[in-house]
């Protein structure tokens, strides 16, 4: 399997042109392998959840909380679904031609790319100004939570911290999406300069051939990474035990019981 493809310029230089599409198949395979592995694990694992009696006790003690806890604002939900729609259009227009479904995809692709870019810009501003910016990020401070979650996965009762607003897996996923998303958007915006759009005068000389090659490679790598990441995201969104999170991205709220069962009220103070 080749990882990268190379081309020859009129000046006889060998330069990177883009990734090998074998990597798309590799990402698809990795995505399915992960789903299979995780699905099997969930059937057999001894994941320790807060039990019903304990949750009953917490719920009785916190009657001051509203029955519905707001988890995602309307703006946050709109961003999520617009971004999701753009992402699906981008992935389908990028990869369907590679699997043999031929159609004129370029215009749809860059239009969806602009929608994605706009939605990400909106999200950055919205999250910075109106949301708890640091609640989604991971860092060294989360090591105790990681350790506790790993032990819970092994069936142990652990006093360690429970998640704040976002579970650890959610935050790690967000980090991966941020990295791959920014890479694909940045490289994509540069690549738009090389195609005809109403927004720019084409300028194929903006970068030299070698830098263009790296740009295309970066776009391709981020793109195939997103294939696997989106597969995993959809998989978790439809898993029965995660449905309450998915539902909250539609309705905007979770129940008081779900809040107390899955979150640490000290780390995510519901209002």
């Amino acid at each position: 399997m080749d990882l990268l493809t190379w081309g020859r310029t009129p000046w006889g230089e060998w330069i990177l042109t883009h990734i090998s599409w074998d990597l798309f198949w590799a990402s698809l395979f990795a995505g399915f392998a992960f789903l299979l592995a995780h699905g099997s694990y969930m059937l057999l694992s001894a994941h320790r959840k807060r039990d019903a009696i304990e949750t009953d006790r917490l719920e009785a003690a916190r009657t001051d909380l509203p029955a519905r806890i707001s988890r995602h604002s309307l703006a946050a939900r709109l961003f999520h679904w617009v971004m999701a729609a753009a992402m699906f259009v981008l992935l389908f227009t990028a990869f369907l031609p590679i699997v043999g479904v031929q159609f004129a995809w370029v215009t749809w692709h860059w239009m969806a790319g602009l929608v994605l870019t706009a939605s990400i810009l909106f999200h950055i501003i919205h999250a910075t100004v109106w949301m708890d910016f640091w609640s989604i990020w991971v860092g060294p401070k989360d090591m105790p939570e990681l350790k506790a979650e790993l032990l819970r996965e092994l069936g142990h009762e652990v006093d360690g911290p429970k998640p704040g607003k976002y579970p650890l897996g959610n935050r790690l996923y967000h980090l991966a999406i941020v990295l791959s998303g920014l890479m694909v958007v940045t490289s994509g915006l540069f690549m738009m300069v090389r195609v005809r759009t109403p927004f720019f005068t084409r300028n194929p000389y903006l970068l030299d051939d070698a830098k263009w090659g790296f740009t295309y490679v970066a776009h391709g790598l981020a793109g195939v990474a997103l294939v696997g990441l989106v597969m995993a995201h959809v998989y978790f969104a439809v898993r029965p035990e995660k449905w309450w999170i998915t539902k909250s991205m539609i309705l905007g709220w979770i129940t008081r019981r779900q809040y107390l069962e899955h979150h640490d009220p000290q780390r995510w103070i519901a209002r």
């Binding site: 310029t9 042109t17 194929p204």
Partner: protein, 337 residues
Amino acid sequence: MAVIRDVMPAFELFQPASIDAALELLDRYGSSAWVLAGGLDSFDWLKDRIKRPSVVVDLSGITELKGVRPMGDGLEIGAMTTLTEVVRHPMVQERYSILMKAAEAAASPQIRNQGTIGGNVSQDTRCWYYRAGWSCYRAGGNICYADTPTAINREHAILGADRCVAVNPSDTSPALIALQAEMVIRSRDGERVVAAEDYFIGPGTDITRMTALRTGELLTAIRLPGSWAGAHFYFEKVADRNVWDFPLVNVAAATVMTGDTIARMRIAVNGVAATPLRLAAVEDVVRGKARDEATAKAAGDIAIAGAVPLQHNAYKVPLLRNLVRRAVRGTENTWTS
């Protein structure tokens, strides 16, 4: 241009005697097999050593692929029928003279003796940046060298460019589209028939292919329906030389008149885009109109809608407009600008 060398890279040559045998070879060798018809496109690639297939399947020994025969109220032309045979066939001359003119406009007598109609419609683009072997979009890379501010792109596209600005160089293709021809494609999985205008693939759909032919498929025949037989035909090609040259722009139109008005028309052009273009908007505008200067002028203006010339090919815009006007008028008499 790349330097044409005398000795081609080594390949394994197969000369099947039947379509089934050819399809079996194409199936066995997949994308490493190269289909050889008349060789006029192929040998450039092979001698330039840009394409290095390990297997060449020469179709010249397959009798089934040759000849012109009646089919229903129309004709079927084998894909390996030479352009000279097409030009000289009495039924083509009598009923489909537009195809005769188009085939006769291709290249030179020697080339028409060797070149086939299947090869003429399936040939690759002549963009020299692409044929020099550089890694342009069409060659699998990430740039169009012909669409840069300093490129030499006098012969390139003014319509339908999508990253690549190469044009289709076929003379017979617009005539076949005007005649509502069907392309018969066979593979080991069976036969499919596509309309001539759908046989050609633009860069927006697949930037590395010119036709709908997929790996393992073979164009076996071209069918001409009777519906346009004997219509008023118009074909004109403008090239830098009168012989042995590819079109800068060509136009083909088939028109059926009712009295003094145009009952129906099919019109197609080539040399302006990566595929031959059927001008459906022009056909709609002229339907039911008198075949006069006003109709021709409207048709010409519509034909160039959306044209985006490159650095050196703006001349193609008035050229296309005027050729369409002349095709609609059905006369070459007045050269309007």
